[in-house]
Structure formats: structure tokens, C-alpha cells
């Protein structure tokens, strides 16, 4: 965790505020475009927000937060109750959405999904790549940073209010794409689904803010061996691996508890995990909040 102080909170579009978090004890940990942090709110909830400022600015992090009409307590708290000067702990930045080198990029952003795209577009442009952005949102007033983007990048940015113009034609964009172009998309689920249908998967990189709706086989109990402590922990069918390990005394960080943020990653030593996250666990790793076991036993490095 890193201690910050909320230096500024200000509206940047209808229903969207921007937060500047200043490092309380000097420079903050470095990050690359696409990274996000966990923000620990005073109401005990932890929420993940993409960093949307300048990676060269080591003194502060910038994030933007949309007030979700069906807020479970995160965005509502940020909008209604958070005050400047409040100390706030944030995690080290994590990046599940890194920018791979390419000569050409197409960025697709939907609404608040613009946040990770901002530093990506800046980095791609600075690297001399051909980079274009299609930025969709319900209406211009609800879309943060649209004016800045147009001022800075001119006609390489298309601001697309869906209320007036419908959804962007991803098929046409796909047809116009160069052979070595990469596509980065962040937005609501329908936009991600449309992107997955329009672009070949090796070229497409997605980031979700909420888990994709999926169904899994019924939960089964399993046992996990913690190889370093020599402990065997039973995980009941109705219990998460993360909860069982935490109750057994292991200090595992946790954030979203729904397989999106990646803070509860653990190393698997033996057995076959059943991955249920939306991140895509690297080999030998799993996200203990949602993932379970295909085998009756797992061994983990704890």
C-alpha cells in the first residue's frame, strides 16, 4: 500500500469526477499506460481505477470516476462523500492491459473506459506510431476529456455520441485496419462483445470493469495445502478460496473480490486450478477470490 492525500476532486463531465492523489511521503511507484490501482475508501470498500494521468509525473496519480446509478457504495462514496485532504491508501499499480509495441493502433473507448486509453494514446503517439481513437459515449456532456483529446490529437480522435449517431461501425473500422495494427478496447460489456466479434483475437486487447456474465459448474469443496506453512485448509462449496485462506491466517491482499482487479493473486505449486477470473491468470498463478480447483487438492506457495 502507498499512502496518498486527496489533493483535488473536480467534475470533468456530467456524472464524472477526476481525483488527484498526491504521494504523502514523496514519489509514488512508477507505472505504465494501462495500469490501475486499488483505492481503499473510508467506507472499507476497495475499488479499482485506471490511472489516466501522465506516467512521468511521479508525485501524483490521477483517476476519473463515474457515478454509477446502481453504485454498490464505491462511486457513490467518491462522488458524495470524499473530501480533499483525506489520506487514502492505494495499492502499487498493476497492469493487465499493457501496451505492446506496434506501428499502428486503434483505440476504442466507451464512456469512462477512456481512462486507461488516455496515457496509452499519449505513449503510442510519442513513440511515433499511427494511433487513432474512437471514443463513444451517450452524449458529449457525459464524456470526460473529449475536448482535451480533440485539441491535442485533432482528427485522429473521433468523438462519437451514440445518442445522436448510434454505435460506431466496428466492421468498417476493422476493414480499414493495417495488417500490423493492434486494437485496444475499454468500455461497457456490449462494446467489448462487439469488439470481440469485429476484430481477430490476436490483435485485440480488452479491459473489463465488471466481470463478464458466465456460468460455472457447481462449486465443489476442495483442500488446499499451503506448502510453506505446511497447513491444510478446507475450502467449502459455499466459501471462496480467498476467504478460507484469510481465515486460516494468511495475509492475502484483496480488492474487487470478483476476479477483475488481480490483487489476490497467489502462486500454484501443484494441482489444477479452475480459473474463473476475467484477467487471464499467467501460468502457475491464480486469483483466489473467484477461482477454485478442478482437482480435489491444490498446493499453493503460502
Amino acid at each position: 500500500m502507498q499512502r496518498t492525500v486527496l489533493e483535488r476532486i473536480e467534475p470533468v463531465a456530467d456524472g464524472v469526477v477526476s481525483l488527484v492523489l498526491r504521494g504523502a511521503a514523496g514519489p509514488l511507484a512508477p507505472w505504465e499506460p494501462g495500469a490501475h490501482i486499488d483505492l481503499a475508501l473510508p467506507n472499507w470498500l476497495t475499488r479499482q481505477y485506471s490511472l489516466c494521468g501522465d506516467p512521468a509525473d511521479r508525485d501524483g496519480y490521477r483517476v476519473a470516476v463515474r457515478h454509477d446509478r446502481l453504485s454498490r457504495g464505491g462511486s457513490e462514496y467518491v462522488h458524495r462523500f470524499l473530501r480533499t485532504g483525506r489520506p487514502l491508501d492505494v495499492s502499487l499499480p498493476r497492469n493487465h492491459f499493457p501496451l505492446r509495441p506496434a506501428p499502428e493502433y486503434l483505440f476504442l473507448a466507451g464512456g469512462i473506459g477512456i481512462t486507461p486509453i488516455l496515457p496509452m494514446l499519449a505513449a503510442a503517439t510519442a513513440a511515433g506510431s499511427t494511433a487513432t481513437l474512437v471514443y463513444a459515449g451517450r452524449s458529449a456532456t457525459t464524456m470526460p476529456f473529449a475536448d482535451d483529446l480533440r485539441a491535442r490529437y485533432g482528427d485522429r480522435v473521433t468523438v462519437h455520441p451514440t445518442g445522436e449517431r448510434g454505435r460506431p461501425d466496428l466492421g468498417a473500422l476493422a476493414a480499414a485496419l493495417g495488417p500490423r495494427a493492434l486494437v485496444y478496447c475499454c468500455g461497457p460489456a456490449p462494446m467489448l462483445d462487439a469488439a470481440a466479434a469485429a476484430f481477430p483475437s490476436p490483435r485485440l486487447h480488452l479491459e473489463r470493469f465488471r466481470p463478464a456474465a458466465r456460468t460455472f459448474a457447481a462449486n465443489r469443496p476442495f483442500q488446499v495445502r499451503c506448502v510453506r506453512s505446511g497447513q491444510d485448509v478446507d475450502v467449502g462449496a459455499e466459501e471462496s478460496l480467498l476467504n478460507a485462506l484469510q481465515h486460516a491466517g494468511h495475509q492475502i491482499p484483496s480488492g474487487c473480490r470478483e476476479g477483475v482487479c488481480g490483487s489476490c493473486e497467489i502462486a500454484v505449486v501443484d494441482g489444477e486450478p479452475e480459473h474463473r477470473d476475467d484477467i487471464g491468470a499467467p501460468p502457475g498463478r491464480m486469483y483466489s477470490c473467484v477461482s477454485r480447483a478442478r482437482s480435489s487438492r491444490l498446493a499453493v506457495d503460502l
Binding site: 446502481l70 467449502g236 459455499e238
Partner: protein, 212 residues
Amino acid sequence: MSSTSIRRTRPRRVSLDEVRARIGEPDAMVRAKKRDHLDHHSRRFIAHAPFLAMATSDAHGRPDCTPRGDYPGFVKVLDERTVAIPDRPGNNIADSFRNLAENDGIGLMFVVPGVREVLRVNGRGYPTDEPDVLARMQIEGRDAQLAIVMEVAEAYFHCGRALIRSRLWDPASQALAGEVPSIGQIAVDQMELDMDPADAEKILEADYRQLY
């Protein structure tokens, strides 16, 4: 008379007039602080309250008071005259729902740790399964099963004397916990179980692991 026997003579009852004669009328400030809606102070208090006591009663006025707790702000303020309280497994809320079906009066007392004053909110309640309300109460991917919607009739901050006198937030007060029986001991005695209280305690602790 042994300590477990029931008293034969009850303490004497006094009338409301006698009560008034002893304590006087509530002063103007106390009356004025009652509001018919949740102002920004009340909303901020509710957003930081992880605990409340909820009182309901049945058609005959038989009362019930039950604790509710979760992360701060678990009670959702839908607007300045409406709040929604989630129902989670293990709350044994059935008494409250049965009462509300007969008598919709409901009283809440919100508590913020470290704050001596409490927020009292009284009004009328009913159960709901409205998806947009339950979605706001989702934790660890699970929705609340039901919620109580409460229409606010009055809201006011209650003075801190009770919490000051009770030293509720003084960490030293937690020494009292060592002087009362453990839940394992209580369960073994009250249910006449042939079991070691420590084992009963373990079973109950395991049950507490599943909070949602």
C-alpha cells in the same frame, strides 16, 4: 430467595403525568432537531454507519429489536425520504418481515464507531425485491435476497450521554467481554448439549466464516 427465582412483587408503576413531573417537558431544541427528511448530515452519517438497531412490532404491539451490520453505508439512501436496508443470510429477519406485514411502523438507530451521538430514523417499511435496489447491495458477487424500503417520517440525532456513560468506545471497556459467557458455553447450557463448550464454539466460529 435464590438468585434464579422470579420476583413476586413488581416495582411500582407511575403514570405519564408523574413522569412528566419528574423529568419535565423536552426542551425546544430537542423538539426542533426532529426533521421529516434526511438532510446532508444524516446522509453522511448513514454513509459511515456499519451498524444499526431496527425495531418493529406486530399487530398487537408486541415488539422486536434486531441488530444489522455490514460495511459503512450498507443502508442505501434512495432519496431524502427513503432508505433501503439489505437482508442477508443469517439475519433471521423473518420476525421483522412478519411484523411489517401486520404493522408497518419501523424505528432505526444508526451507530458510527467512535461517535457518541446516534442517528434515529422512524417511519414506515415494507419488503421489496426490486432488482435495482438489490443490485446496489451486492457484495462478493451476491445480491441481497430482499430489502426493506423505509419511508422516513422523522430523523434526528440523539445526544451522546448514553454512549458517554456506557464508555462504549473506550477500548478498556472490552475487558467486559471476558466476564460474560462465550457463545459456545451459552449454546451448550441453553440447548442442554452433551458437548465441550470449546467444540461448540469452534462449530459456531466456522459458521461465522460464511458471511454472505
